[in-house]
């Protein structure tokens, strides 16, 4: 198990980086669903992404049916890195890819979702991964986490930019199969939506078990564990208090010094990603397009 986890850690950087590099097109024919002037492109370039990713998994897992679908169908226990890399690849493609590519990637995911159906052992409710209600929760958890992580350890978005980001991301929800009118398109709408879902959220045994494993992967050596701890502390601190309480985590607010340390660890992690083939070139392609779109 431990050796596998190590292999996992190795693959995580490499495979996520490869997924990212492949998702950023060369010589793009169109600007995709967001484009170089979007807030979405800008926040994706920030250091806070790993924290946003971990926080959004923590949020998503609190929905018993979303968790059951992952737990009973996804191969994540066998290949957690593959599962995470697939998600990174999907997000990179819909964010930076051409429209046709984004639509194709979304169609692939929707076909997979069609096969994911079952009954949650805890609540006894049936579920289907293609259910717009579940997809909306997964979407909202991600969008909320990106804003929260940026403000905690990244470059905080101005209020107007947060609203723009939430509005831009409606396109992502639509791609995966949520009807547009259902999707929150501003921060207040997003907050209202999350509050409305809250009564149905709970920390099921599946959520507790898989998140414990994610937050504290067994068998890490001292140096690795310390870096991982920085990312984990930030993700947990970025959660809403009620979500922390559901998991039973206690987290004192981050001091300014601790936030600096976390940013430094994220910088180290970012350098690792940058060392992977194709990543620097992909970032340069994005930077050049964003520069060209900057108002003069």
């Amino acid at each position: 198990m431990t050796a596998d986890l190590y292999a996992t850690a190795t693959g995580l950087i490499e495979r996520s980086a490869a997924a990212y590099a492949a998702g950023v097109p060369e010589g793009a024919r169109d600007n995709g669903f967001f484009g170089p002037a979007s807030v979405t492109w800008r926040v994706n370039a920030g250091l806070a992404s790993p924290v946003a990713g971990l926080r959004s998994l923590l949020m998503q897992a609190l929905h018993p049916l979303a968790m059951a679908g992952v737990d009973q169908h996804s191969g994540w226990r066998r290949d957690p890195v593959g599962r995470l890399a697939a998600t990174s690849a999907y997000l990179a493609t819909i964010t930076f890819g051409e429209r046709a590519e984004a639509v194709r990637a979304a169609a692939r995911v929707r076909r997979i979702h069609d096969r994911v159906r079952g009954t949650d052992a805890v609540t006894g409710q049936p579920y289907a991964a293609g259910d717009p209600g579940l997809l909306l929760w997964v979407h909202a958890a991600l969008v909320d986490s990106v804003v929260a992580a940026a403000s905690l350890v990244g470059t905080a978005l101005a209020a107007g930019d947060s609203n723009s980001y939430v509005a831009e991301m409606v396109a992502a929800a639509e791609l995966i199969g949520v009807p547009r009118p259902l999707v929150p398109s501003s921060v207040p709408e997003l907050d209202l939506y999350i509050a409305s879902v809250r009564p149905g959220l709970r920390c099921t045994p599946a959520a507790a078990g898989s998140m414990a494993c994610l937050l504290d992967p067994p068998g890490l050596d001292e140096d690795t564990a310390e870096i991982w701890q920085d990312i984990r502390d930030a993700a947990v601190a970025a959660l809403p208090r009620w979500a922390r309480q559901m998991y039973g985590y206690s987290a004192p607010p981050l001091t300014p010094g601790r936030r600096t340390e976390i940013r430094q660890s994220l910088g180290v992690l970012d350098a690792m990603v940058l060392g992977q083939p194709g990543v620097l070139e992909a970032r340069q392609r994005i930077t050049l397009r964003m520069r060209a779109a900057r108002p003069a």
């Binding site: 140096d223 600096t260 180290v268 350098a271 690792m272 050049l288």
Partner: protein, 466 residues
């Protein structure tokens, strides 16, 4: 060291095979990367027009761009990568790749950003502070870049301009001792992490304030003033500040071109470099920790211009004494027991280590190979690699008892940098005879024509001083 950083997530506990290989591979990479990182200043233009255009399009336009590129430990990782190359040599392809990419990820400042820095530091924009200003940088430099300019009184100069805000960012990153120590443990596992850590923090800290470098360069330029073959560009005092350093521009050629010159010219250049390194150490009590080809410019007849004094360490007489004792006991007196005692005095060897003196001499003799006996010797690339290999040989009965005390950490660069350069040139000389000219305990007469010219210069120096 970025490389080192790369290792963080990939490290494993001993005993698990799969990652062991990955880790070993990573280490190798970081080493190469460190060497890569250490080769600054590299010309932006070397890789051709297209790349040049790309770099200009990606140029850092604001202080925020600088922070995104070099903040959050990345600038520090690059510096540590450079320094790790003094002391360790064997990081993996993956780590090397990381360092190289990190280095590549730093584009130059845009002309506007560089001009704003000049104005902030000198109180006037570059086109008024200088008679002529080339807005295109000619080289990357330590946390900054180099522009060509002509001063108002008509001197051609090189202007080193620091990135805005970078000194504060790096200073803050250097305070995260725990993370630095973790990175160093991975980058240079065979070394004493704490000794290395303080050295890294001191040296990198000094680099943040160009006035330290200007002071070192001023000292060197003053000492070598009038030297027949050694040239150190003068600092232009009124135009040098914490974040701007202006020095005379040299019109000589780079190492790559020297390599195409006849062997006689290469030998002369090598002799000058050798004299410079050891005269600086024993007479100026200063060692430039960055002896690599990118910091040398060449003219015919052995004239070498030395650039980049950002990593100079100054020594006290007490710190130099043991080094001289070691050289004297092993090369001149051929007294193994006295050699051993001087190693112990300097802290290189644990006193009473359970190894024979003969084993110690055999282990360390390779470092003195070229100077133990008189006569011309050719320094080959093979010799340079054997020095490096021995240096990093952490196995064997002797290696376990050897440690490099902090003051001498930077001197390891002699082995890794100087001999590598001389090996690259396949340089031949009577290195022992040249050393005897320089060693304070011999001070022998000149052994070469260059030595004679140098001796005349020394006499003039003393006369001028008196």
């Amino acid at each position: 060291m970025a490389g080192a950083a790369t290792l963080l997530l990939l490290r494993r506990r001993p005993g698990r095979l799969r990652l062991d290989r990955a880790r070993a591979a990573l280490r190798l990479a970081a080493r190469g990367g460190a060497r890569y990182a250490a080769s600054a200043p590299r010309l932006f233009a070397v890789a051709g027009e297209r790349r040049q255009q790309l770099r200009e399009d990606l140029a850092l336009q604001t202080a925020e761009d600088v922070a995104d590129t070099l903040g959050a430990m990345k600038g520090v990782m690059m510096k540590i990568g450079q320094m790790a190359s003094y002391v360790d040599d064997g990081l993996s392809p993956a780590v090397r790749q990381t360092l190289a990419r990190l280095q590549d990820s730093v584009p130059p400042m845009s002309p506007g950003l560089a001009a704003a820095m000049v104005e902030e530091e000198l109180g006037a924009p570059p086109d008024r502070a200088f008679a002529r200003w080339d807005p295109r940088p000619i080289a990357a430099a330590s946390i900054g870049q180099v522009h060509r300019a002509v001063t108002l009184d008509g001197r051609a100069v090189a202007v080193k301009v620091q990135y805005p805000g970078i000194a504060e960012t790096i200073a803050a990153d250097l305070r995260n001792v725990a993370l630095l120590r973790r990175m160093l443990r991975i980058a240079a596992p065979a070394q004493d992490a704490d000794a290395l850590l303080s050295e890294v923090r001191d040296r990198v800290g000094e680099e943040l304030d160009y006035r330290h470098e200007a002071a070192s360069q001023r000292l060197m330029a003053a000492y070598y003033d009038g030297h027949p073959t050694i040239a150190v560009p003068r600092i232009i005092d009124g135009l040098s500040t914490r974040r701007i350093m202006v020095s005379e521009l040299s019109g000589a050629v780079r190492f790559a071109e020297l390599a195409s010159w006849p062997q006689h010219e290469r030998d002369l250049a090598a002799e000058t470099i050798y004299r410079f390194v050891f005269r600086s150490l024993y007479d100026v009590r200063a060692f430039n920790g960055d002896p690599h080809p990118g910091n040398y410019l060449f003219q015919r007849g052995g004239r070498v211009t030395f650039l980049d004094f950002g990593l100079v360490r100054h020594f006290t007489p007490a710190e130099l004494r043991p080094l001289l004792q070691m050289a004297r006991t092993i090369c001149v007196e051929h007294d193994p027991e006295a050699f051993r005692a001087s190693l112990e005095n300097a802290g290189f060897l644990r006193p009473g280590a359970p190894v024979s003196t003969q084993a110690i001499v055999e282990h360390l003799a390779v470092f003195y190979d070229t100077i133990r006996e008189p006569g011309p010797r050719t320094i080959t690339s093979d010799y340079a690699s054997s020095v490096v290999r021995r240096f990093f040989d952490v196995r064997g009965p002797v290696a376990a008892h050897i440690a490099v005390p902090r003051p001498y950490v930077i001197l390891q660069r002699i082995n890794l940098g100087l001999f590598a350069v001389l090996g690259e040139l396949s340089a031949t000389a009577d290195w022992r005879a040249i050393s005897e000219e320089i060693w304070p305990f011999t001070r022998s007469p000149a052994s070469t024509p260059m030595g004679e010219a140098e001796a005349r210069w020394l006499v003039r120096r003393q006369a001028a001083a008196a």
